[in-house]
Subunit: 223 residues, 2 copies
DNA sequence: CAAGCGTTTTAGACACGCTTAAAACTCTTT
DNA sequence: AAAGAGTTTTAAGCGTGTCTAAAACGCTTG
């Protein structure tokens, strides 16, 4: 009845769609993300398409139907609320909450998720800065820029850190660049694309792998 | 790899074993408890026996191996800690926590369960009074008596209420007979087996269905 | 435009977990 | 001891979700 893996596929399709909104999501990218073979992804696509949760054309990738997107947003809501819960209530390090939330998110009754939301006082992002959809699938979409794309001298606040880049969370924590941290771009190297930033009085040189995994928001300018 | 339903079967076999420690657990009783057909239970028994988690003889019922019992106790631990968590932290009514915990218990990583235990300050019973095994499967086994078996005049404390008797939790709550409540047996009817009790100044007549679903402990008598 | 490479789909297989229907067994009852 | 009732097991089938190996496709390159 329920279908356990289905929702995971839908959520991953949604995430991939967001990362690259222009083209449809390829079989291989979903298979990679889920850690299964392309053949398995194809088989799942057929089931999801049969149930009108995705649109699937042979050799042409997939996209979510409105119905599929609703389900995907529900999974993301559960996932990110659970992450917040694990971090804020159970004090589990933020490096681990994504993995744990992946395991837990399917089994949680709606009422439990809703009560967690109340307990947490309606957070609107997960600990890594991704938005938490409300019960109707709505969520804030603030104007964020990749750290990679900043100019020298800009002062910004860290808003989001990609939780699926191996080792990044640990690294970012050591540097004091968690969501909410303030930083200033003090230099850019146009050849190797390194970015030098200053935060809490210390300077750090960030490579491309890092600077394109961190989103920031410009500080409100007055006047 | 993991096997989702397997653990449910093991836990239910354990529960049934406790209810009737003398004979082995029958196929039908497990099937009833799990809400599946006897054929399904038989099929699962073969898988569990193949993996040395139960001992299974054709037409002869099943019993847990030490390994199977360890797993079963782990499930019970998770189940009852989650119940406590749902009741105490998320304030979900105790009538519902058993159902929700059933859904959640498989998906919870050990670390999450352990942190819940710390947050709850190491409770040793679930909200209905069943003991919570520790990480090694050990748990307190206090001397409890069925309310059914009390004599007139005895003063006792409610210790445990069977959470799987339909409607009982609601009924018991209305009567003020939650675990911890004190009561005195004021009469017994030897024909219809009704028991009359007094609690908080009010008297109630309890039928057999109720009196054999509530365990009590005798109050410490001072020497 | 054809060759070739990488991606995707098909084909065939398997484990899990469930079903119904029929056969086998056990136990009680006469 | 045979009959019958109730329980349990077998048999056959279905959906999910995965795999490997082989075939089909599509795109880039010579």
């Amino acid at each position: 009845m329920s279908g356990l893996a289905r929702e995971d596929y839908l959520a991953d399709i949604y995430r991939l769609q967001c990362e690259n909104p222009h083209d449809p999501v390829s079989t291989g990218s979903v298979a990679d993300r889920r850690g299964v073979t392309a053949a398995s992804a194809t088989a799942m696509f057929k089931r999801l398409a049969r149930d009108h949760l995705i649109v699937y054309r042979n050799y042409g990738g997939v996209s979510l139907t409105p119905e599929g997107q609703d389900l995907a947003l529900g999974v993301l809501r559960r996932h990110r609320l659970v992450e917040r819960f694990l971090a804020d209530v159970l004090h589990i390090p933020w490096q681990q909450v994504d993995t744990y939330a992946d395991q837990m998110e399917h089994a949680l009754p709606d009422e439990v998720v809703d009560r967690m939301e109340v307990l947490l006082e309606n957070p609107y992002t997960c600990p890594h800065g991704y938005p938490i959809p409300d019960k109707h699938g709505h969520f804030a979409q603030p104007d964020l820029i990749l750290l990679r794309d900043l100019s020298v001298g800009e002062q910004v606040r860290v808003a989001r850190v990609n939780e699926r880049v191996p080792g990044l969370l640990r690294y970012v924590e050591d540097l004091g660049l968690m969501p909410g941290s303030l930083l200033r771009v003090s230099a850019r190297n146009p050849v190797d694309l390194n970015v030098t930033i200053e935060t809490e009085g210390r300077a750090h040189i960030l490579g491309l792998r890092v600077s394109e995994a961190i989103w920031v928001e410009r500080l409100e300018s007055r006047g």
